[in-house]
């Protein structure tokens, strides 16, 4: 991993080559990564070691970006790649919308503070953790029919440098484990899911981290669950689902590229009151969690961003381009999946700030549907219509949990939900996840507390 830090001279030369060829701004990201992934399906293990080295270079010319990447990370490879990036920008810049970008400069070296660096933990130890989760899942109940445990870690060393003088040398460590457990009774099959992930090393899994047993219990309990009713209901969302709302429905709409392209319901609403007093939503890459980064992929120092405060829209997520075009500046929200993709505006750790209610107080006198866990979902960006499929749900009558429900979906309009959130619980919980946008996947965290929302459309079978 030392090798990257010795490339500064090659980087400087590639940057000046791009300047000579006519680029107004150039940046280079070099990434060296080493990772392990283990999957076990019903006792059959597959172990995958990855090792990558590559560079991505962007050249900017009057509103157009050229981007090229290479796996040849030496003096010649970087120079060629920089030339390609400039040629690409030159080939198309005449047909671009003209704007200039404003680039704050940073220089720093960031080392991870993990206790057990994954590259120094044996595969055998990682495998032991995975197999233990599998055994715990199988022990949970006789009806557990199939198990799938996945484990991934990565140590990612990046250099982010640009023609204005930025030079960031950052190492990030991430670990995650996921359990997907199936249960069967007669012809009925159900599944359960639990994940644990953070920007930590193997210490994350040393306190047990019982994902197998938790996912198995969920799968088994769903065997007796009923299909969901349909109609309009008052809802209580668990922290997983409220976190997904913060990310999927609200967070994506706050990304400044969507504001510029006219595909966000939040366009033109900055500083307006569009949510209830209970709602404060934050994106914070500097928080030590699965979506953590000290500097973004454009070399901008990250910080906590309050997107909505007590219902008032306070901020968008911006990168160099969108921040410059909107006159807001970058707030460090640029991320790329890997060296072979250009950075785009992304979230990191996105969450609701907790409120004052205990879970019991939220359910007090409540009749409706209580949703637990997220299977999948999507939103229509231009209208804000959202559909989330929960993992499980309960019918609640005057505060009492009644029927257990499977495959319950909820749908609503994002702007209406922001108004209809009447109460938020006091305990904040986070979930690690992977977010896809523009074909790029990034590690993210969503967070929330229990939350009561009125007027939600529930669909089932």
């Amino acid at each position: 991993m030392q090798e990257l830090s010795e490339k500064r001279a090659d980087i400087e030369e590639a940057l000046s080559k791009a300047r000579e060829r006519g680029a107004q701004f150039t940046d280079i990201r070099i990434e060296s990564s080493e990772g392990t992934s283990i999957s076990t399906k019903d006792g059959i293990t597959k172990i995958n070691s990855s090792n990558e080295l590559g560079a991505g270079i962007r050249a900017f010319l009057e509103g157009a970006w050229g981007f090229a990447y290479t796996t040849q990370v030496d003096h010649q490879g970087l120079a060629n790649c920089a030339e390609s990036a400039v040629s690409l920008a030159k080939a198309v810049y005449e047909r671009a919308e003209k704007f200039s970008i404003d680039v704050p400069v940073f220089e720093n070296t960031v080392k991870p503070t993990v206790q057990r660096l994954p590259t120094r933990v044996s595969i055998a130890d990682k495998l032991d953790y995975v197999l233990l989760q599998e055994q715990e899942a199988k022990k949970t109940d006789k009806r557990v029919s199939s198990t799938e445990i996945g484990y991934n870690d990565v140590v990612l060393h990046k250099i982010i440098a640009n023609s204005e003088g930025t030079y960031i040398d950052e190492t990030v460590v991430r670990s995650i484990a996921r359990a997907m457990i199936f249960a069967k009774e007669g012809a009925l099959r159900q599944s359960g899911y639990k994940a644990r992930g953070d920007s930590k090393g193997f210490e994350l899994f040393l306190d047990g981290a019982e994902i197998g047993r938790i996912a198995a219990s969920q799968a088994v309990s769903l065997l007796d669950a009923k299909p969901a009713p349909s109609g309009e209901f008052e809802a209580v969302l668990d922290p997983s689902l409220s976190g997904v709302f913060a990310h999927e429905a609200f967070g994506h709409a706050s990304e400044a590229d969507a504001i510029i392209s006219g595909t966000s319901i939040l366009a033109g609403k900055l500083k307006q009151k569009i949510g209830s007093d209970a709602v404060t939503i934050v994106d914070d890459p500097s928080l030590q969690s699965y979506g953590y980064m000290a500097y973004d992929d454009e070399g901008i120092q990250t910080r906590r961003k309050v997107l909505m405060e007590r219902g008032i829209l306070q901020s968008y997520l911006t990168d160099l381009e969108t921040g410059s075009r909107l006159g807001l500046g970058s707030n460090g929200s640029a991320r790329a999946q890997r060296y072979d993709a250009p950075p785009i505006v992304r979230m990191s750790n996105t969450f609701f700030e907790p409120g004052d209610y205990s879970f019991e107080e939220l359910l007090d006198g409540f009749s409706g549907i209580y949703f637990v866990g997220w299977q999948y979902g999507y939103t229509t960006p231009t209208t804000g219509m959202l559909t989330f499929k929960s993992r499980e749900a309960y019918v609640v009558e005057r505060g009492e949990l009644r029927d257990h429900l499977r495959d319950a979906a909820l749908s609503a309009m994002t702007l209406e939900v922001l108004h209809n959130i009447s109460a938020i619980g006091k305990t904040l919980a986070f979930d690690p996840g992977t977010c896809g946008k523009g074909g790029q996947m990034t590690p993210n965290t969503t967070g929330g507390a229990y939350m009561r929302v009125s007027d939600v459309v529930v669909g089932g079978m």
């Binding site: 172990i47 995958n48 990447y69 690409l88 669909g459």
Partner: protein, 444 residues
């Protein structure tokens, strides 16, 4: 394709060099190397935003020791390192008695329509022009605004070899287009999109743009409809996630008893008129190749024939477990991943109807849904992402907050109309399909 042939040979050399490092008295090994080039352009609101070019070479090594699989990938400069990592991973894992062997050498069929010299020689200006043209073509009306559009072309060469003597080489090209638009009129707005991909340089820019523009205009002013059971017509784009996903079962899921179609081979699971085939040799198919990701010859596999479930999708591991032949359905995104089971090109047999909606008195037309069936239960419950009401045989207003729900086993038996025309989206060639008695719930 001399240049491509040269690249194939060079990649095969690297694979052979990697395999020579594996002690075949202890391990079985496989090497898969690729070399790819791509060019793409992205527009935002009709103006160029970025252009990109990529060049990537890499190798993936799979090593088995008593069935324990180790995998490692790296760039071509670090082949020795990848082999070493794969071997140590195989040694660390647990043995698997169901693993019999990697695939054995067999002869491959010749595939057609998978390489286009034109694509291989395009420059960035031409690709950018395509993205501009498709954006222009979508502006069929003053009310239509372009959100973004993109065009990409790519070429790749690959080689695979294993320690049992399998050797395969292939090259291919692909071009793709996409456009996303929005229509506005007063407070009303509607979204439209369209994609197209081909192995040849034959994409119809006008048609792609027109489809997106028309979809945006017709999606304005969505309204709910009265809930109830009614006929649902599935657009070719919606057939993929609903019907094709349900009828395409990997042998891995079947063997682990995770699929609602487990143990149903030979049973009538769909109406007589329903036939779906997985065809890895389809001329010009997006997923066409002479061999799969393990070097097993590609083939044509009938999955459901006139309503009867005939086969699951197999790779060599799941096939060996049942003592049968692989169907050539091992697949991988790139050299970074070990193979896993996936369909190649799917083809649903067409029907005879020239207009599948003309006999629908009251129903809905589903253009797109983001939902999929729950494969363990067969239940499908999904939001209509884009769709329309059908009244008296005509397509009417767009739908607002509408859900459809049905068990897929019922759905396959309630298919009562297949169009004569077929459309290809993402490797699925299908007619438009009508299904009776689906629960539709609408509100908002």
């Amino acid at each position: 394709m001399t240049a491509a042939a040269e690249r194939e040979t060079a990649l095969l050399d690297v694979c052979m060099r990697a395999l020579a490092l594996i002690d075949t008295s202890i391990y079985q090994g496989e090497a898969f190397a690729t070399h790819s080039n791509s060019i793409s352009a992205e527009l935002e609101k009709g103006k160029i935003k970025s252009s990109q070019s990529g060049f990537e070479r890499g190798i993936g090594i799979r090593v088995f020791k008593e069935g324990s699989m180790g995998y490692a990938h790296a760039s071509l400069e670090r082949v020795e390192f990848a082999v070493e990592k794969a071997i140590s991973a195989a040694r660390a894992g647990s043995p698997d008695k169901d693993f019999k062997s990697l695939s054995l050498p067999e002869s491959y069929s010749t595939v057609t329509g998978t390489w286009d010299h034109t694509i291989a020689s395009l420059d960035v200006a031409t690709v950018a022009q395509l993205a501009i043209d498709v954006a222009d073509a979508s502006r069929i009306d003053k009310r239509v605004d372009i959100i973004n559009s993109g065009a990409s072309v790519g070429q790749w060469s690959g080689a695979i070899a294993n320690t049992l003597g399998v050797v395969g080489m292939d090259s291919g090209t692909q071009a793709a287009l996409d456009v996303d638009v929005i229509a506005h009129e007063g407070d009303a707005s509607g979204n439209g999109f369209e994609y197209a991909a081909s192995r040849r340089f034959d994409l119809d820019v006008e048609l792609v743009g027109l489809a997106a523009g028309e979809m945006a205009l017709s999606s304005m002013n969505p309204r709910p409809i009265q809930s109830g059971k009614m006929p649902v017509v599935l657009d070719p784009l919606a057939v993929g996630p609903v019907i094709a996903a349900a009828a395409t079962v990997s042998a891995e899921d079947a063997q682990r008893d995770r699929s609602f179609l487990t143990g149903k081979i030979g049973e009538h699971i769909a109406v007589n008129g329903f036939t779906i085939v997985d065809d890895g040799l389809l001329s010009g198919g997006l997923e066409t190749s002479p061999f799969d990701a393990e070097g097993v010859p590609s083939q044509r596999t009938t999955l459901v024939e006139n309503g009867v479930l005939r086969s699951y999708l197999y790779d060599s591991y799941t096939a060996n477990k049942e003592g049968r032949k692989s169907t050539g359905n091992a697949s991988r995104g790139d050299f970074r991943q070990p193979p896993s089971i996936s369909p190649t090109n799917l083809v649903i047999a067409n029907g005879a109807e020239t207009d599948v909606i003309e006999d629908v008195r009251r129903g809905i037309y589903v253009r797109a849904t983001g939902d999929r069936p729950n494969m363990s239960t067969g239940e499908f419950s999904g939001m209509v992402y884009a769709g329309y009401a059908i009244e008296d045989g005509e397509r009417k207003h767009a739908l607002k907050q509408t859900n459809i729900g049905i068990n897929v086993l019922d759905l396959l038996k309630q298919i009562d109309g297949l169009s004569r025309d077929v459309t290809t989206y993402f490797g699925l060639t299908t007619p438009t399909i009508r299904v009776t008695d689906v629960s539709v719930a609408s509100s908002g």
